[in-house]
Amino acid sequence: MTALRYVYAVCRPLTAPLQAELRGVAGAPARQLEHHGLIAVVSQVPDSDFSEEALRTRLEDMDWLTATARAHQNVIDALTGVTTPLPLRMATVFRDDSAVRVMMEKREDAFRHALDRLDGRVEWGVKIFMENTDGEGGGDGGEDTGARTGSAAPKAMSGRDYLRQRRMRTTAREEQWRQVEEFARRLHESLSAQAEDSRLHAPQNPQLSGAAGRNVLNAAYLVPRARSEEFVTLVDRTKDDTPGIRVELTGPWAAYSFTGLAEESAGEPT
């Protein structure tokens, strides 16, 4: 078995020590690798898990994916306590220390640029859900929706009544949807105004997230630490507005969504 190098993040040299027992993927100790005044935080991983072929299989393994993602986050989290790390995409792996150094040298300028831009910033996640009101018997569909599908005596309803009710329910749902969209648009606008940058992630599939309701907005905001309290208060203040809408806040995260370095542009200072 050969040991590869898993790289978690690139940072400026730490002014406070990293926690001594910090463990990364597969429980291996995380350490710093310095090159030209930048450090990469790395740990050893076995190529039996991280060669391309092995990795393809591993990523299909829910337990492995979960453990690896949490281990990655654990290292980034520890770094966030002492510096502003530039996190790398999960499962970025090199053959040995010298290959990591080559990579750092090639992207030195881009790394410094990104680290300057992100210094002292954190990421906050905000999700908006439209809560499912269908099960409530369509209380938003108007008071005169007498009989309901599945309730007693469906025979009593004429075809025309049925179609009318159906249309009302659809209209009510569309109206609710419109309200939620409007709410999301406004909240995103006011949060963006408080943030230095924002990014929209794909809405989460409820089957995957296990969250109730429909995910309408899944956004990330880049906010200076010093203004985080203000930002959180702003999210919190939306609390009283609209029934049927749920807002979830996550963070603070390292600025995962704002590293702004794609493979194509890396190494080219802009």
Partner: protein, 62 residues
């Protein structure tokens, strides 16, 4: 409406960032898995795990 804060990090939130965020560098080993592939793979893993009716791998909100 309710605002929920700072509970245990949900795996989906983590994967949004780990698989769609972070600096993309093709490692020199053999990792040339495109973003799309990674996302597809993670969805496959999640969906199959959900469909098998195994307990949720991440803690439910409490």
């Amino acid at each position: 409406m309710t605002v929920v804060e700072r509970r245990e990090i949900a795996l989906v939130d983590l994967l949004d960032r780990l698989l769609a965020g972070g600096v993309v560098i093709t490692g020199d080993v053999t990792l040339r898995i495109a973003d799309v592939d990674l996302v597809r793979i993670d969805l496959n893993a999640l969906i199959s795990s959900v469909n098998e009716n195994v307990p949720s791998p991440w803690p439910e909100a409490e």
